[in-house]
């Protein structure tokens, strides 16, 4: 569980946001240039005479974009194949591939409570994550707004947050089991309690770091508290809030596997544990790739949302 604790600790930093604030002060032109640099290097082919050369350049560009990641993944497979040679329990990449084909050949089979396809397992885990995470967002974001806006509340909540935030997620599981007397709500509770902090912290940080200039505008105009919230606090802190959501979702997905290993039932975490009991290592490795891929997709879609809601980028 150590890696998880580390990642939770590091979340207090508004990842990427301090850089974002600096970006605000950059001249428009350079920002536009940066934007262009970030967008995919695929040219839609404006009417240029030397199309042959252009096509070559395009191919070259695509090659240099695709090649490094492919090489990296290839390296991973090579190292894996090498390690697999030295021990009989670790399946080779080829064997794992066959196993994966078999698993994904019928992802949604259902042969009773303890034998379901990987699709169902994933679905169960995602459902738990979104329930716990949604609940955390529902409570954490408004709480963050209040903590950021009212200094007294900030001072009141600070020790509570500092005390509870570094607690390893699984330490909460017995509490959940004792209170809810059932496995499923306990797992959701663990997700809730671990993913609420980045949202509270980032939201309050976002609200607290709204530039004084904007608040002065609100003061001179004597805007109502509601207008201050909708016209200034919310848009100004939205990038922070979305960063908090992104971190929380990442943590939730990290924690669910461990929580499910302990609570059992349907879910990718328990499935891994089950396959360990069956000594089916190939399935475990497939599950690891599945968990990684889903995490990547969650992360990327949140990054997309974050960009969408960042006033500095549109």
């Amino acid at each position: 569980m150590n890696t998880e604790v580390v990642s939770i600790n590091s979340m207090a930093l508004p990842a990427g946001n301090s850089a974002g604030v600096n970006q605000l002060r950059q001249p428009v032109a350079s920002r536009a240039a940066a934007h262009e640099a970030n967008s995919p290097k695929i040219d839609t082919g404006s009417a240029k005479p030397n199309s042959g050369q252009r096509a070559g350049k395009l191919l070259n560009g695509a090659f240099s974009t695709v090649m490094p990641p492919v090489l990296g993944l290839l390296l991973l497979v090579v190292v894996w194949a090498f390690v697999a040679q030295t021990t009989e329990y670790l399946p080779s990449p080829a064997k794992t591939w066959l196993s994966a084909l078999e698993i994904f050949g019928d992802p949604f089979y259902d042969r009773g409570l303890n034998d379901k396809g990987i699709g169902w397992q994933l679905w169960a885990s995602l459902k738990r994550v979104f329930e716990g995470f949604g609940l955390a967002a529902l409570i954490g974001i408004p709480l963050g707004f209040m903590v950021g806006r009212f200094d007294a509340l900030q001072r009141m909540m600070n020790p509570v947050i500092s005390l509870l935030r570094p607690v390893s997620p699984l330490a909460w599981l017995p509490i959940g089991l004792a209170v809810f007397k059932a496995a499923d709500p306990s797992a959701i509770f663990v997700i809730f309690i671990t993913s609420i902090w980045p949202m509270v912290i980032n939201t309050s940080l976002g609200v607290a770091s709204v530039p004084q200039d904007y608040l002065n505008v609100a003061r001179v105009l004597k805007l109502s508290e509601w207008k201050v919230f909708t016209k200034i606090l919310l848009p100004a802190s939205l990038p922070y809030v979305v960063t908090g959501i992104k971190l929380a979702l990442g943590i939730a997905w990290l924690v669910i596997v461990a929580a499910e290993m302990l609570t059992g039932g349907v879910g990718i975490g328990f499935w891994i544990w089950d396959e360990w009991n069956n000594l089916n290592m190939a399935h475990i490795i497939v599950a690891i790739f599945v968990v990684g891929t889903v995490g990547l997709i969650l992360e990327q879609s949140m990054a997309w949302v974050a960009n969408r809601f960042d006033y500095r980028k549109n």
């Binding site: 605000l24 428009v28 920002r31 200039d213 904007y214 002065n216 505008v217 003061r219 001179v220 105009l221 004597k222 805007l223 207008k227 016209k231 200034i232 848009p235 100004a236 006033y311 500095r312």
Partner: protein, 293 residues
């Protein structure tokens, strides 16, 4: 002349980590209705503090600040502020930024189309109709500052407060905006208080210039009447003897009498008193702090 805005024997003391810091000491000043007054002084002399007092963003430690004989308590839209860094909300368009202010001031009595019309009129006044739907990061620094001015003027304030409005702009843009500001405030008969450190800007735009001594415990050093006829033209004035003389007066104040902040502090400390015009002379005040007076 009856004062419209009055700053009356104001001290401002900030609580800092290193104990109390006296920013302003015994500052008295007044602005008549329709008058354009500038405050000039070295940086850190508390020019902006005076403006913030009138804006209501800051309360005086002692003394009081009045608008139309009523004490100023907190900020309000009848005292519009043009901030140095424009302070436009980056997620709103030019129209949205101005509309926010217009809606706040006139929203109770007017319909939405009327509010939009007011907004468009203000944007047109500063010549930005073409950029109406752009966001602040899509327009130049000079244009942003115009939006700030449009936002302030659209509120039809009793006093327009400007805190180094053109400080961050290049010389040409600044000159252009100064001319426009002169035209607009002249047309509207606005009462303006502008903080600046630009001598030419102060002389060109103002009816009076309040010159501040160096801080800490800054106060009003001298007040200069600028009796140049309006409308003013910077090219004509550049060779006008009166203009050159006034400009020289301000420069002399800033660079001869108040060049070294440290000296000024030492004097205040030694004598334990400050000079300020418009206050009845106390025995200590007659100490020869300002022989020129």
């Amino acid at each position: 002349m009856k004062p419209y805005v009055a700053v009356d024997h104001v001290d401002v003391i900030f609580d800092t980590k290193n104990g109390p810091f006296q920013a302003l000491a015994n500052v008295s000043a007044s602005i008549a209705k329709g008058e354009f007054v500038s405050i000039i002084g070295h940086s850190g002399c508390g020019k902006s503090t005076v403006l913030n007092l009138i804006a209501g963003l800051l309360d005086p430690t002692t003394g009081c600040v009045l608008l139309e004989d009523r004490e100023i308590k907190g900020p309000g839209p009848e005292r519009a502020v043009v901030f140095q860094n424009h302070s436009l909300l980056p997620w709103l368009t030019v129209f949205g930024n101005v509309y926010l202010a217009v809606e706040r001031v006139f929203g109770v009595n007017e319909t939405k189309p009327a509010l939009a019309e007011r907004t468009d009129k203000a944007i047109e006044m500063v010549g930005l109709s073409h950029a109406r739907d752009k966001r602040p990061n899509e327009i130049s620094g000079g244009m942003k500052q115009r939006v700030g001015i449009a936002r302030a003027l659209a509120m039809e304030p009793k006093v327009l407060l400007m805190d180094e409005p053109f400080g961050a702009l290049d010389a040409l843009t600044r000159a252009h905006l100064q001319d426009e500001l002169m035209r607009i405030t002249g047309d509207l008969g606005s009462t303006v208080l502008m903080v600046t450190h630009d001598v030419d800007e102060a002389v060109l735009l103002s009816d009076r210039i309040i010159m501040m001594t160096n801080g800490p415990a800054a106060t009003v050093g001298e007040i200069l009447d600028v009796k140049l006829p309006r409308p003013r033209n910077r090219l004509v004035l550049a060779e006008d003897a009166r203009y050159v003389h006034l400009r020289g007066e301000v420069l002399r104040f800033l660079y001869e009498k108040h060049m070294h902040p440290a000296v000024s502090v030492a004097r205040v400390a030694c004598n334990g008193t400050r000079y300020s015009p418009g206050t009845p002379a106390t025995p200590q005040d007659s100490a020869a702090l300002h022989p020129a007076q």
